[in-house]
Amino acid sequence: MDADFRRSDVLIIGGGIVGCATAYRLGKRGVKALVIEKSEIGAGGSCRNAGGVRQSARDVRELPLAMHAVSDIWPTLGEELEIDVEYRQRGNLRLGKTEAHIKALTALVAKSVSAGLDVRMITGDEARAICPHMSDEVAGASWCPTDGHANPLHTTFGFYKKALEYGAAFVTGVTVHGLKKIRGRTRQALTDDGVYEADRVLLCAGYESRAIANTVGVDIPVEREVSEVFVTEQRPPMFDVMLGTSDADFYGHQSKHGSFVLGGMGGMEKYTSNDASVATHGITAPRLSRGVIKYFPTLRDIKVLRTWAGHYDVCIDGVPVVDNVGEAPGLTLAFGFCGHGFGISPAVSLALSELIIDGESKSIDVSALGYDRFRAKS
């Protein structure tokens, strides 16, 4: 029985939202997946993010994924997964306080508009009309009315539950050390629990994917960087939009539960955080708190209940790799999401299921996310 369990149509390495969602989509098309996860379901970035479902301020190379997710998947995802994913499509405000902020935001808006997105610059007063309680310091904002937010925990576990229902199997507490080709095809995962085998392998394990891909001669320039979030006590509904700032003071939203989920960085992460620990740092959440109070003075007396940290898998050029690997047939890669993977993950999993079954992504153009796009300086 154990030998049977170790074989599948597709091996998925990484039990985050991309792995769970792809296992579900493969199952729907009659392809059996076995997901190997070293820790728990969604223990990485999938359950460690602030829930943004955003198209604005995205790199145009991943915009097709974001726009497909928002137009075709998110509006009905809760019914599809039979769980309340708490998707709210009430827009995204990216706030600016200074002239430099407004200039940076205006440039971002121009790029998104040229890629076909409905996003525009608005004044501080217009922003305050959309989101009252904001301080007069806000001088302007970019406004994308079709952006929103959702609950990453419910979405991740919703995909997990549906994947199980459609016949996928999961094994947790097993660490993959490397891949092995058999007669030129990527077929085996070598783990601390022996060998697992399948006709196809999907590697979607965040930063750790890099070392695993290295074992079949593929290197993707991805590093990790820590980011933190703090969560407050509940308050009656105050605003429904997703918020960010040009200066990256904080980003986040008020959840359906009533708590505020607000995240960001302390500014020193590049030099302090490249290790496996996701412990919070004493300077980060206080810095975020100061940022939040500047924009929302009315929140100064809300209680902070907890803080947590997570890793971004930062790809060198700011967008992930979502591609089949030519030199290692049978291997598909999906990592390097740079901290903006949650919102696009329902679309990424669709592209991945097509890359795996059909050999190409037909529904969504992911051609700009190739694994072989990296070049040294000429």
């Binding site: 969604g42 576990f157 947790t172 209680k303 907890r306």
Partner: protein, 110 residues
């Protein structure tokens, strides 16, 4: 971490008489919801917490953690010590945002 194999349940969910009992008081999560979460595939304290919010409220699991561990160990047939525990989070008790940010000009900071 122990290897855990997870597949679709083969038997239907069986309700129990005291499923309506509130276990996590802060977030009002019942025993039945926790049993159902295990049935849905949750296998650890952190997964139950993330799925249901049990232990995410004002007391951060100070009150309910042992009770949830007990339910989890019974449902999974594990010894009480092997269900794990939820990740401890800073701050250890709720702190007002302004104090947390040390942004009050009158205070001397931490």
């Amino acid at each position: 971490m122990q290897r855990t194999i997870r597949t679709r349940p083969t038997l239907p969910f069986s309700p129990e008489g005291d499923d309506g009992l509130i276990v996590c008081r802060c977030e009002e999560i019942t025993k039945g919801e926790i049993r159902r979460a295990v049935y849905d595939g949750m296998r650890s304290m952190n997964e139950v917490k993330r799925y249901l919010r049990a232990g995410m409220g004002l007391c951060q699991g100070q009150t309910c953690q042992r009770l949830v561990q007990g339910i989890l160990s019974r449902e999974l047939g594990l010894p009480l010590g092997e269900t794990g525990r939820i990740r401890g989070r800073v701050p250890a008790r709720p702190v007002i945002l302004e104090d947390f940010g040390m942004s009050d000009g009158d205070s001397e900071g931490v």
